[in-house]
Symmetry: C2
Subunit: 218 residues, 2 copies
DNA sequence: ACAAATATTTAGCTTTGTCTAAAATTATTT
DNA sequence: AAATAATTTTAGACAAAGCTAAATATTTGT
């Protein structure tokens, strides 16, 4: 696969949200910041190569083989993101562009060894799951912290309320996007919860918990 | 710079042995496994871009700017080689192909952080020196172990005598290509020497020392 | 159901990097 | 120093991947 073909495969995969959905030429063009006519050309080629199913005017989807390739790319992308954050001190919002390049490196041994070096991580710095070598992985869902069951952990990915006082609170308690939060206990009465974050245990009110989004897997 | 341009720059650099030598179109073509006519086209473009000096029929050399690019590529290549060997357990002879891909990744932060992560290594797994960020580096020379001065260390890169008994000796003493050897002491009388290799100290006869090549820097 | 709007494809052109074959230049030999 | 050999460049073609403009399908609104 060429670099460009791989980019198209990833775009089709992501637009189909991982399920094997048919996506439109226009959608792919927009996603990839290119023109619809270029997409038509490329999906024809991918179709001939057995990577995609394409019917003129009817959109395009990935074949089994195409999905395999997509999953391998996603796996590589997310492993590299973990590497950049954990080993090279990148912040969670700096990694995408570089991982976008690294995911195209071709070497099975490289990926396997990288996975091992990182301790076989399950999720990337954005809380998204990393497919196994065979392409299996759990879905990630975004939930408000108060909806996360006891014992589950997730990665902080956003806030519902973005008012200065709330953001100030998060800052003061050293809760940042990208942090892993584990729900230790919940108080039925007032909805407050105990969480563990970076080795620290803190108690959080319901108001806070209903305004913080976590990404949790499975 | 495109991937292809970078490959040409590296080829011209290596053929010129790092000094700013003029190299022939044919030599570049052979090195890159391509045709002389393709080289002509490319060096014209590199010349227009201010990367190379090219006079028809007279060969091509790198400009200052071109040399800077070459050194940056060499730096990246060798840092990635160290990474692959030290962190991902690649053996010294498996790294080249993968490093050849990784050297094209564009991110200054990536290279700086990688350098730091590896502890600012001075040489790659083949004993070749790694240019600093500014492009400075010491030359590497290949010497027989008996010619290496006391206190200097180098990396084992080859043998003069490749007879089975000699190779068996190396194997028994766990001396392998890629190992770092430090010369501790020399015996004037019989030319035998003490070396340190992988935390072990061993005594080696003159016959052995005159048949083992090390790469040492400066 | 038909016209208008939107989406998609086709046709033809551009750029990058490569190739082959022919022409031009430089080097070598006698 | 002329002839031959070797090297290098030019000219013209090709594949990949992209674009624009025009043509064709499909969808939507009434």
């Amino acid at each position: 696969m060429t670099l460009s073909e791989e980019d198209y495969i990833k775009a089709i995969y992501h637009l189909g949200k991982g399920e094997n959905t048919t996506v439109s030429t226009n959608a792919v063009a927009e996603q990839m910041d290119t023109k619809p006519s270029s997409v038509t050309d490329m999906v024809k080629k991918l179709s001939e190569k057995g990577v995609a199913n394409y019917k003129p005017y009817k959109g395009v989807s990935l074949t089994e083989y195409g999905q395999k390739i997509a999953l391998s790319l996603v796996r590589k992308h997310r492993l590299w993101e973990v590497f950049l954050v954990e080993k090279l001190d990148f912040s969670w919002d700096e990694v995408h562009e570089v991982a976008e390049q690294l995911e195209h490196i071709k070497s099975e041994k490289l990926v396997d060894q990288l996975d091992k070096h990182l301790g076989f991580p399950q999720v990337d710095p954005h809380g998204d799951p990393i497919p196994s070598k065979k392409g299996e992985f759990k879905k990630a869902i975004k939930k408000l912290l108060n909806e996360v069951p006891i014992g589950k952990s997730g990665i902080c990915v956003g806030v519902k309320d973005s008012s200065p006082p709330f953001l100030k609170f998060l800052d003061k308690n050293k809760i940042a996007l990208g942090d892993t939060i584990l729900v230790l206990d919940k108080e039925e009465f007032d909805g407050s919860i105990d969480i563990q974050i970076k080795e620290r245990t803190i108690h959080i009110s319901s108001q806070i918990a209903t305004n913080l989004y976590l990404k949790i897997t499975e």
